[in-house]
Symmetry: D2
Subunit: 130 residues, 4 copies
């Protein structure tokens, strides 16, 4: 088998590869949902899922190894779909490095059908959190 070395596997200059930010957004989103008290595991229990439908990413300044990142995430809408916006800052200097917005549709995990309202339990948790 012959393969090329993928560019994303061999990034240079100690700079974080742009695709890796999506992992940091997911870690931040899981952290936010956990603080709200309604995690992906709760979703599974209720037979729903929130797959990512769209994502907008804006790279301002590259993150580097040795840097501590502060990620601020906030739910801006939850019906008819879940919108979250994110900002990543250098934790020391406060400099903004990145921002993003994700849209997630609520779906029935079995049928895949869209549900345009948020689960009751999620709304309750969101109201407590706010």
């Amino acid at each position: 088998m012959i393969m090329d070395v993928p560019f994303y596997d061999a990034d240079s200059m100690k700079i974080v590869w742009h695709g890796n930010y999506i992992k940091y957004l997911e870690v931040a989103r899981c952290d936010l949902l956990s603080k709200i008290g309604y995690t992906y595991l709760d979703m599974m229990d209720e037979g729903i899922a929130y797959p990512v439908a769209t994502m907008e990413l804006k790279y301002i300044k590259p993150a580097k190894f040795g840097q501590k990142l502060r990620i601020v995430s906030e739910i801006t809408e939850y019906e008819p779909a879940l919108y979250i916006k994110y900002e990543i800052f250098d934790n020391e200097t406060g400099e903004k490095l990145f921002k993003a917005k994700s849209m997630q549709m609520c779906i029935d995990a079995k049928t895949g059908e869209s549900i345009y309202s948020a689960p009751k339990k999620f709304i309750e948790k969101l109201e407590e959190y706010a």
Copy 2:
């Protein structure tokens, strides 16, 4: 050291995690640039780089293991910045699974300063290719 298992490391249902599409876009972009005859290695040789500045992703239907993907990518503009649009299809059914748009700025690799015109050699290669 205590850590949580990241959600992106433990995806379910044989569905491709949404963050992985950025890798496929990069493979497609490298393939496109290689066909044009002006690769990331050529950029390095000329002392420039094309970091990704913005990205818009639209997930239509999830890709799965066992599926062959056809990725169509096209340069839509190259000055003052490089715009590429991408579409991913199921190679068998032709069904569209995903689309995206990336914007990359040309910068001086040493100083990091933006360059609003494309390198001469790149333009020549683009014209030959078109």
Copy 3:
């Protein structure tokens, strides 16, 4: 949320991060199983799985972006467990870059119990292939 930039997300010197080789081994293994005619999808159909139990990795020379890799993989034993050995070469110079050995146990996908014999269909395919 505050997080460190992980070192594996910010590798330097255009060198492939050592953890990425496991992906290449998996691609090679899937390719080998597909040539044999008994893939992970066939395993799922038969209600079994072959999780990796041990792995030994030896890094000889780093792979770099722009390099084409030739990966040679071979099944050395399939009972009581599946042993595969791998070698990665620079496709141009023939230089050996890496070698590895994996051991995978056959298990019942539902109960998780070990099965010390290979599935009949797998053995037939292996004999045809050899």
Copy 4:
């Protein structure tokens, strides 16, 4: 461009893909080196590097999303090469999930030549730490 969906991008059953453990080992190693007071950044400053030369991995029980992992790592030798052993436990039950051993060679970052002794500063830090 046509590509297969890689198996490692589409893992099933909420189980962590076996290749991801190498990331956890690296996070644990960076954490250990940071506690010792001699990080990868210090190595770069001194013009040396510690690339991974061999790695042995043993998968005992799969990690899952929702699980907290405790990673215990320990330097067992540092001359003529650096040996670290790792164990990963479920942080709640204490059950052992995984163990590994890595060997890293000290090299001159410029020439790539092996150095069979550890840097003085590293040894001092190791002695303080122990």
